[in-house]
Structure formats: C-alpha cells, structure tokens
C-alpha cells in the first residue's frame, strides 16, 4: 500500500514538475501508465505496456513500440519520461518532439528479450496475408506452413486467386498443398502428395515423414516414394553444399598460403613470421574502419591497398635487416623469423591490446544467396572465393608478364647467372619478399571478415600455409592453388563422417604419406631450375 501511494505521490510530483515545462503534462494519460509499467523493469509488465500502447490510437504509439523493439526506447531515471534515443536524435516518445541537451547517462534502456521481441514484431508487423507489402505477405505465408490446417483451404484459395507476387503465390500454393495433406479426402491427399514431389521445403519433408507411416497403405506408399525422391534431391544438394564449403575453405587456405608460395616457394626463405604479416593486414583493416566509421561498407576497398603497403613495407624491412644476412642458412632463417613472429605478436599485445579487436562486416558481405530451401551460399564466403582467385590471377600476371616477375624468376632459378646479366639481385630479393608479405597482408583483410582479429591470428594459419605450399610443390603458384582448393574440399568431405578434429588429423596424415611418395609435391619444378 505504502509503496503504491509513494509511487502515486512521486508520479504526482513529477506531473507537477513537468507541467512547468509544459511537455509532459499535455500528454495522453496512457503514456503515464506505460511509463509506470516500464519502470517496474519486468518483462511481463513491459509486455502489458506494449499491449496497452498498441491498443491505443495514439499516433506516437507505433513509433515508441518500434523503438522498443530496436532497443532505442529509454526511460529517464528520475522523472520516468520516455524517450526515443538514437545515435543522431533524441525524441520525446509521447509527442515526437525533439529533446534538447540530452545526457544518455540519465536514461535507462528499457530491456527486451527474445520472446518479447517476437511478440512486438507480430504486434507491429500485423503479420497478415492481406498486407500491402509483399514481403510481409511472404513472411506470413511461410510462417503458416508448419501449422496449416484444412479449414484454412477456402481462405487460402481465395487469397491465391488475388495474389500477384510470384514468390507469395508459390508459398500460398505450397500452403494449400500442405493443407490438403491434412484433409480427410483420400484423393485430394494423394494428388497433393504427387504435386509435392521435388519440393525441398523442410515443412513438406516433415509432413511426408509423418504420412509415410499412415494407416492407409496407398497413402503411406505414395508418401514414401515422394519422400525418397525428395531425400535424393536433398542429398544431392547436400553434396553441392559440401563442395562449396570445401572450395571456400580452400580459398582461405590459398589466400593465406599464396604469399608464402612466393617467399618460401620462389625465394626459398622459411618465413615463420608469415602469419604475423597476415595479422598485421587484419589490424590494418581494423584501423581503417576506425578512421572511417561512417563508411564501413567501403572500408574494405581502402583496407586492401593499405594492408598490402603496411605488410609489404614491414616485409621489406625484415628482409633488409635480418633475412638477407641469412640466405643459404635455412635453419638460422627459421629461428630468426620465429623470433620476429614472437616480437610482432608481443608488440601488438603491448601497443594495441592483448584482447581481440572488433572488425565489422560490411552489409554487402552479410547474409546468404538462397538457391533453394536446402541450399544457400553465404555471401562472405562467395566474395572471398572470388577474391582469392582474383589475387591469384594478379600475382600470376605479375610473375609472368612484368619485368619484376621476369627478374624474380631469373634470380630464383640461377642467382649467379642473373647477376651476370645485370639483374640487381639484392633489390629483387627485397621486392620479392615485399610482394609476398604484401599479399599476406591482403589475405589478412579477407581473414578479418571470417575470424577473430587478435595477436594470435597468424599462428592459426602458419602451419596450414606451409602445408599447402609443400603439398602443392615448392616454387609453383598453380600448385598452391590446386593444393589449397583440394585440401579444402577433402577436409570438408571428411568432416561429416569423421568430425572436425579427426578430419584435420586425416588430412595431415594424408599429406605426410603423399610427401613420402612425392617429396616435391603435386607440381614439382623440373629441369635445371629444380636445382639438383
């Protein structure tokens, strides 16, 4: 009682206080009720308030509910007034007027949970088959599939006859067929089963699975045969999906390894710091995104050249200061570059932070391309697959068709002869190493879109990179491409029945055995260039 009267008193006081500023006092009483419900900070009360607001005719109510759904509805800690706060604007929720001098710390966000979000969405969207928006109609038609009953048939048929949008039409047709599966009419049931042949929607499969044990043998038989056809198609799509997953994993391996294919493959330098050069590329993406927070969608286009330059320059620095003194001594190079990798990691830990840093995905890289209801390809993987092929093509072009490429190949095949022909081998070494390192940086940009960006990023890719280069054949770019993609595909086809851990082990064992048989990898260098 006391608490109640106290709340009433405080509400009255607030009322008094705000009548002075003449903003709150004029508001519809529902806003006062809503704010006192919100104040109790329980999901049930929030739901009650949402019910009340959605039932009211207040023009601001839908705005406030939408803000609540998106987590932008706030309540003032002292005077309980409701406000819609976004990054750019602050509005009074009850009348839509802009608030001035708002301090976000004075406000408490009104919490929502998943159940409430779902509820709000249904309230707001008015999920209905008669909506003007085809998207809403489609969503409600798909939502219907699991629960559709024969009683809805006439209504659905009526809607179908009026429908214009092809996607909604298809969804409605499917709903009608599913509804007929539930009907008591045997002929309708059978014709629906036949009509559903080849439909990959999971709702169809679940329904048919239930029907395949039907008491009526003809229906059970028909359902079984249709189900078998569908399952075959699902299996086929599953294989396609696995192939895509494999190619995509392979493309990541290719990207990570292709820089190494140059430094290790062409120059013969065992660079244990390769992973850290990838990491630096990923950090460059992070810093670029920090510099241009409002243009996240374009940040990657700037990050790619920036990462190439950053990692490339650091690569050249490493080559000039350390590696060039160690040519011909692979063991020392290995130890020295391992040291460099530890230094770079700890440097990032001290200078940036030991924590991972957030790198956002541009909107065009999120989501997936839906081919059918069981096969969809995620955009980020598609882009990265295309990107790795592009990087490969550019690199191949550089090595084949440019002056630098010619010199690189000359020096790597016969250093003494190349020098005798007037190639400045020291400069070529530095540039080659820089090119390989720069490509590692570019790989870092791509990896920042898939995985954590932190000091340990490089470590998880160094082993895989060496594996790909060795398997593909040292000194051969094509080898790296084929090796990367095939290792990816093998890994993904093994994963479903062996599990992720065992699949990785099996791939390693396979490579070890393969190297025993063909020590020079898939595509060994031939002739005098092979150096034996």
């Amino acid at each position: 009682m006391l608490a109640k009267s106290l709340t009433r008193l405080s509400v009255a006081l607030i009322f008094l206080f705000f009548s002075l500023s003449a903003v709150w006092a004029e508001a519809n009483p529902i806003w006062n009720q809503a704010s006192s419900l919100f104040k109790q900070a329980s999901f049930d009360k929030t739901r009650e308030a949402a019910d009340m607001l959605s039932a009211s005719s207040d023009p601001q109510a839908p705005v406030a509910l939408k803000a609540l759904l998106e987590g932008q509805l706030y309540q003032h800690k002292q005077n309980d007034s409701l406000a819609v706060l976004t990054d750019t604007a602050a509005l009074d929720a009850s009348n839509g007027q802009a608030l001035s001098a708002v301090n976000k710390d004075d406000y408490r966000k009104i919490p929502v949970n998943n159940t409430l979000r779902k509820y709000l969405r249904s309230k707001l969207g008015g999920l209905s088959l008669s909506s003007d928006d085809p998207k809403v109609r489609l969503a409600s038609a798909t939502g219907l599939l699991e629960t559709v009953s024969p009683e809805q048939l006439p209504q659905l048929q009526d809607l179908l006859s009026k429908e214009t949008d092809p996607q909604v039409k298809a969804a409605l047709q499917l709903a009608i067929q599913l509804a007929s599966l539930n009907s008591s009419d045997k002929a309708a049931k059978l014709s629906a089963i036949t009509a559903l042949d080849g439909n990959l929607n999971p709702a169809v499969r679940n329904k048919l699975t239930a029907l395949s044990t039907d008491t009526d043998p003809t229906i059970a038989k028909a359902a079984q045969s249709t189900l078998r056809n569908i399952e075959n198609q699902v299996a086929l799509n599953g294989q396609l999906e696995t192939l895509f997953f494999g190619l995509s994993l392979g493309s990541v391996l290719v990207l990570a390894a292709i820089g190494l294919a140059i430094t290790f493959g062409v120059m013969g330098v065992i660079n244990m710091a390769h992973g850290e050069l990838i990491m630096l590329g990923a950090y460059t993406t992070y810093f670029i995104q920090k510099l241009m927070p409002n243009y996240l969608d374009y940040s990657l286009f700037l990050a790619i050249p920036a990462a190439f330059i950053v990692s490339g320059l650091i690569g050249i620095l490493i080559e000039r200061t350390v590696i060039r003194h160690l040519y011909g001594r692979p063991l020392e190079t290995l130890l020295a570059t391992f040291g460099i990798s530890l230094i770079l990691q700890q440097l990032v830990r001290t200078v940036v932070s030991p924590q991972n840093v957030p790198v956002s995905n541009p909107s065009w890289m999120s989501g997936s391309l839906e081919i059918n209801s069981v096969l969809s390809l995620t955009y980020n993987r598609l882009y990265i697959l295309a990107f790795s092929l592009l990087v490969f093509a550019i690199l191949y072009f550089v090595l084949r068709n440019t002056n630098l490429g010619l010199q690189v190949r000359a020096v790597s095949q016969n250093r003494a002869m190349a020098r005798a022909m007037g190639v400045r081998s020291a400069r070529v070494d530095a540039l080659t190493f820089g090119l390989g390192s720069g490509i590692a940086g570019v790989a870092g940009v791509a990896l920042s879109q898939l995985t954590n960006v932190g000091p340990n990023l490089g470590q998880s890719y160094i082993i895989d990179s060496f594996m790909v280069v060795v398997f593909g054949g040292v000194g051969n770019l094509w080898g790296t491409l084929v090796a990367g993609l095939s290792l990816g595909v093998i890994n993904k086809f093994l994963e479903p029945w062996a599990g992720a851990v065992l699949a990785k082990i099996l791939v390693l064992v396979f490579i070890i055995l393969f190297i025993q048989k063909r020590p020079r990898g898939l595509f060994p260098q031939k002739g005098r260039a092979a150096g034996d």
Partner: protein
C-alpha cells in the same frame, strides 16, 4: 657541461631514493603476508587471465588500505606461466618454495589446474580457482570459487526447456576436458528428462576452429525438423566469433535457434563485433549489468584501479573477489595463515556476492551461487532474463553413474569422520586423493 652536471645530480638522487626504497622494502618484507598470483600474462590465455591478475592486485591494494590482514600488509607475488601447462606447475612450486606464499590465486583452463594440483597437495598450500569448470574434483588444497556444472549448465538447460520449450538439443563444444565432461553430464541429464537419443546432437571442434560452415549447416538441418531446437555451447573463447558470424550468415537467428554459451562473457564480447550475437544467451553467476550497490561500487573501483572506464567486469573477477574476501575472513578467524587452519576456518564462512545474495563456503570447497541467464545486447552487456536463488555447488555430478555415489566433505561429517574429497557412499571408502 651544465646538462651533464644536472644529469649526475638527478642520477644520484634517483639512486639514493632507490636505495631508500629498497631498504624500507626489505625491512617491511618480514611483516608482510605473501599472496601468489598465478595467471598467464603472455600466450593464448593472456586474453582472459591478464584481467584476473589486475583484479587480484586491486583487491590486495584495497585490503592494504584497510590495514592489511592480522596487522600485516599483503604483498602480491605475480608470476607468468605463459599459457604453458607444465610451466604452471613449475611456477606454482617456485611460489610455494621460494617465495613462501601463504595462498595462491590462479589458473584458468582446467588443464592448468590439473597441472598444479599435485604441487599444491604435496606442498600443502592453498589455491583459489576462479573459473567455471567441469566438476568431478575436490581437493583439500583447492577452493573452487567458480561454478560447478550444476551451477551453470543444468540451470541453463532448465531455462531453455521450460521457458523456451526447447525439444531438440545441439551440444557443441571445443575438444577438451571441460566441454567433454559437461556435455556428458548434460546428455545424461537430458535423457533423464525424457529427451530422445536422436534429439541430441553432439559435436566437438578443435581449439580456435574458424571454419564453421558445415557444422552450422548441420545445426540448421537438425533444427528444421519441426521441433524447437537450441544449441548449448561450450565452445571456447576464440572460436566463438566465427561461429556466431556463420550462424548469422546462414540466417539462423536467436529467435529461431537460440545458442546458450558458458564461455562467452563481457570480456570476450568487448573484443568483437556483437551484431551477430544479439539475442543469444549466456549463463553465469554474475553479470556486469546487474544493478546493485555492491556491484556498482566494485565497477567504480575497478575503473579507478585500471584507469579506464571502458574496461568491463566479468564472472571470474567476481569469483576472485569472493575468494579473496573469504580468505581474508578465514585468516582473521583462524588468526594465522597456516594452510590447515585456514582451510577449516573457510568452511561455513559467508560473504555477500555482488549480485545481491550470499556466497557460502560449502564443506566440499565450492560456493553457493545464484545462476543468471542473460541475453547478449548490442553494447556487449547482458540483459538478465532469468535468475535463480543461490545453488549449492556440487563437486560430483549426480547425473553421471560413476560419480553419483561420491561426495566430498572436508569436515568429515558426511564421510565417516574422516575428511575426504571423494567418499564413496556405497563402498564407504575414501579413494585416491590425499586427505590427511
């Protein structure tokens, strides 16, 4: 020349100051109680453990401002086991033998705790372990201030089962001892609740797994069979971000297939783009967002100590806060830092936790803790959607046939008078671990 002279003077002054400081330090050394801090400051675990080192320094600093313990100042001895499991044991030995610490606060991964356990038992020294773990252990020399499986995993599953009406379960974890044991317990628990074998999918991935495409596709398929599905994730730290990203990209939302995680906290969320995670769940005994005066004070102190108001607090930090304060109380009660005396004094002590309840030390060296389920928000904080009263930590799970008859009681009341960490109530025997 002038500069040179000045430099000399400064150096001299600095030297004298250093010497003075050193002598006062060595004088003070006899009057201090040493507290070991055994957390990795480099290597893969540095990401989580560095914060706990800072938390300990803050707590010790604060206690010293209040006058220390038993009239003596506390002195932190910080060592870096560098995420290297055997090194944990070596550093622990150094702390006990060379530095003569009275107590050690440390470890994160279960494997590091298993590595130091024999050292603490041999040298009869105390360890406070602050992280949620798989249970199936109770040592006389360890206090487990994090959650046992029945204080995190089981209540989370209950929440999904009752509030979200989940019928199909994916148990996904990283391949090591904590997820494997937790999932074994959960599987047994789910079956005891009538969940069918084919409605449970168990999946393990290596540490730092980043290619989640096929696993997420499997989860999607598993969830499309008409029953409400949820993922119970014991996926460790780093592998989480690519996992949630893949979920988002393949169109799985928190509303269709919710994921409840036991290793994703505020600290882990502070380093990532949280968009794909919003709405998914986590279960802990503490959330930074819980609005209580004690928590507010703790957060303010933390921000002051670490000199940044952007740093977050998390569950293992609260565990250290409770562990440290309970240890201080126990030392004062026992009037000594002697391991056996403190160990006995600890049992039964109570200390208010940060979320508004009380942590009580149980005879099995675990604490009572409330279980909170939170939904991940865009700002990296959690919105509490469910909270239980304090649950008593159970060292030996009742859902595994082998550990069901086992109990731990270091007062000896339930174990035939002899304190024991793994007393078998069927054979009436205390087996294995040291208990004298």
């Amino acid at each position: 020349m002038l500069l040179n002279h000045k430099l000399k003077k400064t150096l001299l002054a600095a030297g004298t100051a250093a010497a003075l400081a050193w002598s006062s330090l060595s004088l003070a050394a006899d009057d201090t109680i040493k507290v070991g801090v055994l957390h990795s400051l480099s290597g893969t675990m540095a990401i989580s453990e560095t914060t706990l080192k800072d938390t300990m320094l803050m707590l010790i600093d604060e206690q010293n401002k209040k006058g220390g313990v038993l009239g003596k100042k506390l002195e932190a001895v910080v060592v870096d086991p560098a995420s290297n499991w055997p090194l944990f044991a070596e550093k622990a030995r150094d702390l006990i033998e060379k530095d003569k610490v009275a107590v050690t606060f440390g470890c994160w991964a279960s494997v590091s705790r298993k590595s130091v356990l024999p050292v603490f038992e041999e040298k009869n020294s105390l360890l406070f372990y602050p992280v949620q773990y798989e249970g199936e252990e109770s040592s006389k020399n360890v206090f487990y201030t994090g959650a046992a499986p029945n204080q995190q995993a089981i209540p989370a599953v209950d929440y999904l089962m009752k509030d979200l009406e989940v019928k199909r379960w994916v148990l996904a974890g990283t391949d090591y001892v904590y997820p494997r044991t937790t999932n074994k317990i959960l599987e047994a628990y789910l079956k005891s609740k009538g969940v069918d074998e084919k409605d449970i999918m168990i999946n393990y991935t290596p540490f730092g797994h980043s290619d989640w495409q096929s696993i997420v596709a499997d989860i999607k398929k598993f969830g499309s069979e008409g029953k409400k599905t949820a993922v119970v994730s014991t996926i460790n730290g780093d592998a989480n971000v690519p996992f949630y990203k893949e979920l988002g990209n393949q169109g799985i939302t928190a509303e269709s297939i919710p994921v409840v995680a036991f290793s994703v906290g505020e600290e882990e969320l502070s380093g990532i783009d949280t968009k794909p995670l919003v709405g998914h769940l986590a279960a802990w005994n503490y959330f930074m967002s819980v609005d209580t005066p004690a928590n507010k004070e703790f957060i303010t102190k933390w921000h002051e100590f670490i000199k940044s108001d952007k740093r977050v607090t998390n569950d293992p930090m609260e565990a250290h806060y409770l562990g440290f304060n309970l240890w201080v109380k126990a030392v004062e009660k026992a009037g000594s830092t002697d391991t056996d005396k403190v160990e006995q004094a600890m049992i039964g002590l109570e200390f208010p936790n940060l979320t508004g309840g009380t942590a009580k030390v149980l005879p099995n060296h675990h604490l009572t803790k409330p279980v909170l389920i939170g939904e991940i928000q865009e700002n990296g904080q959690f919105e509490v959607v469910s909270k239980t009263p304090e649950v008593a930590g159970d060292a030996w799970s009742d859902f595994l046939p082998d550990s069901k008859p086992l109990v731990a009681d270091w007062t000896g009341k339930e174990t035939d008078g002899k304190p024991c960490g793994n007393y078998n109530t069927e054979t009436k025997k205390c087996s294995g671990q040291k208990y004298e």
